[in-house]
Structures are given as C-alpha cells and as structure tokens.
Subunit: 194 residues, 2 copies
Amino acid sequence: MAVPTGAATGRREQILTVAARLFAKHGFHGVSIADLGAAVGVSGPALYRHFPGKEALLAEMLVGISEHLLAGGRERAATGGDARATLEALVDFHLDFALTSPDLIVVQDRDLANLPPEPRRKVRLLQRTYVEIWVEVLREITPGLQPEAARIAAHGTFGLLNSTPHSGARGSTREVATLLRDMALTALTTLPAA
Amino acid sequence: MAVPTGAATGRREQILTVAARLFAKHGFHGVSIADLGAAVGVSGPALYRHFPGKEALLAEMLVGISEHLLAGGRERAATGGDARATLEALVDFHLDFALTSPDLIVVQDRDLANLPPEPRRKVRLLQRTYVEIWVEVLREITPGLQPEAARIAAHGTFGLLNSTPHSGARGSTREVATLLRDMALTALTTLPAA
DNA sequence: CCGCTGCGTTAGCGGGCGTTAACCGGCTAC
DNA sequence: GTAGCCGGTTAACGCCCGCTAACGCAGCGG
C-alpha cells in the first residue's frame, strides 16, 4: 500500500518505481519499453507479463498517486481538529509526499495528457476531489472566501509545495520542508475574505 | 520582440505560437511534424523551410522564453527603487507572463529534457541567472537569509505563480492575478532570517 | 526573357517503437 | 513424474515519425 517511491518488493512494484524515475527524467514518450526493461534488468517484452501495455502502466502509476493523495487528504481532514490544525496537517502531508517522491510529482502533472481517456478522467476526478478537501478547509479558515478563489489558492500552493524537483532540493530536506511549509501556511492564512 | 503568445505576424512566429499550443497540450514527442504543419495550414515538410528540425524549433522557443524572462527580470531589478518595490515588480512581471502565455510556461518546464544538450545548457544558464535576480532581492529584503534558502523560496514562488495553467484560471484574470500576487508577496516577505 | 530565390508540394527512405508470436526453463501441485 | 503456470527469451511485424529528395511555381532583378 506504500505508494511512495521506495524499495521495490515485487517485480510489478519495481517496474513502477523505475518507470517513475525514467518517465520523470525523459517523459513518457521519451522512454521506450526496451529502455524500461533494461533498467529493471530484464529486456523488452518481458514487461508484458506484468502490464497489458505501456499506457496501462502509466495509468496505474497516475491513478495510484491520486488515490494516495486523496486518501491521505481525507485522513487528515477527518480528524476533526480545528481548521488551522487540519490545514497544517494537509500541508505537511502533501509536502512529505512531494519530498519523498519527486519522480511521481513530476510525472503526475507532465504526463497526464498521455493517459487514455478513461483513466485520465478517473485521475482528474480524484484530483478534483482532493482539491475540494483543501477548499473546504480554506473556506473554514477564511470566512467569505469564494470557492473559486480557494481553488486557485490551493492549486497555487500545490505549485509551491511541488517545486522541490525544480530547485534541486539539495539543502537538508528538513530545512527545505520547514521553509516551504511556512511559506504555504503564511500565504494561506492571510487570504482576503472578500 | 514580443515573446508572449500573441497573433502571429510571419510564418515563423505563427509556427512557434501554434507549436507552443500543441506542445503544451500533447508534449513535444506527442506532436508530429505533420500535425504541426496541418495546424498552421501547410503540410508536413514545409516546416523545414523555416526551421532546420523539430528540436531546433523547440530550442528557439525555450531559449526565447528564458531570454524574455531574464530581460524582464533585469529591467525590473535595474530601476534601483527599494527592494520591496523591486520584488513587487518582479512578481507582477512574472505573473503577467504566466497569465499571458500559459502554453509557454507549460512547455518550458515540461520539455526542457527534450532539448539537445547545447541549447539545454543555455536555457539552464539563463534560468539560473534569472533566479539569481530574485535571490538578490530576497536577501536584500530579509537580511541573513541564506542563498540556498532564497533559491528554494524563489523556485517555490515560480511554482505558485505558474500554477494558473493547472487551475483552469477561469475567474477573471485580474482577480486571479491579485490573489496569487498577494500570496507570493506575503510568503516572500515573511521568510525567516535564520 | 531569363534565372534565382522563397515557399510550397508529394514520394520515399531509414529507423525506432509498441506489440505479438513462438519458444523455453524452472517451480509447484497432484 | 508429469502437467501446467509463471516469467523470462529472441524474432518479427507493422506503423509512425523525422527528415531528405525532387519537383513546381510565383515574384522579381537584371
């Protein structure tokens, strides 16, 4: 159930992990089945023993990401503490994911367009639901905040928190985390009520 | 000299504009030369009358973007007002670019990896120089701010400001702009001095 | 009038890709 | 011990793509 990029237990997990790394670096169309096979130590068509095709592999990866995010978001939102605490939990959760699995973050918003229509709609739905969790919390914190404004603020925050793959993120992870965390919380707790 | 996606004057400009739109939607490898030709009304190999190849086209697009950003950044930084005003100008400039040319924003950080080595290094250099402008201003505003922290904050802010393509950005552009502008400025002016 | 240049066209080549086919060795169940 | 699945292999097919070749034709300078 551990979605984050970690050590691979079975072949399927290993393939998904390696594929995430390669897709993040070269893009979906920039990685061939042969490349991917070579990277896991088998070669070429062996992958078809584990996935029905290249797009299905991408689909499983992206759906897994969105489901993981949504599940984590729901979990944090369900604790029922005050809204400010919930927001902090959401930020920490999202940031942890972004720092732990930068490959998945990159692939997530780069190769969504390469999904077949059906899984794409599924991912979009999951993402939208995830955003709505944030919107609810934000509107609880800032009364009068319009839903559309909250949505834009949430997307902006994702951009902020997901920026670590771009910045190299060399400094010790802990420091990066607290910096971005504080930036996000500061920005989100001073939204205009209008 | 107008880099932003606008009406196309000559064929070259038209091709670049259309290519930006298609690349943003389908990714560099997801758009064929034939697709691109069809989208501008000519077909296929006619593009080779204007660009030496597909990668060169991408290179010109990405180099143009980074040069535009760097030039705009330098311009704002050169006015010599106080740092806070400079920062506001930088945010406004970057945000205006992101809102005016969402296609270029998307292509910029998605297809950098598809550039041939030499233009890629050039783009990276331009980007790094652009970031350093922000870093200087941030460190002027927040004394004691470490360069690496400023860099991370700058990248995070770019992620925030560049998030509009993801959020659909339906609300009237002006409102989106002021919302993201305020979020960015709030976050950047409360960075820890440590 | 002639030829050059600019900008198109269609035909075709070469290579790479996703995918399928056919085959095969090693576990494990019965 | 043998049947069968599981997860590999190599060979090959068909498609699509980037790119080149060869040609055509309007416009214009001499």
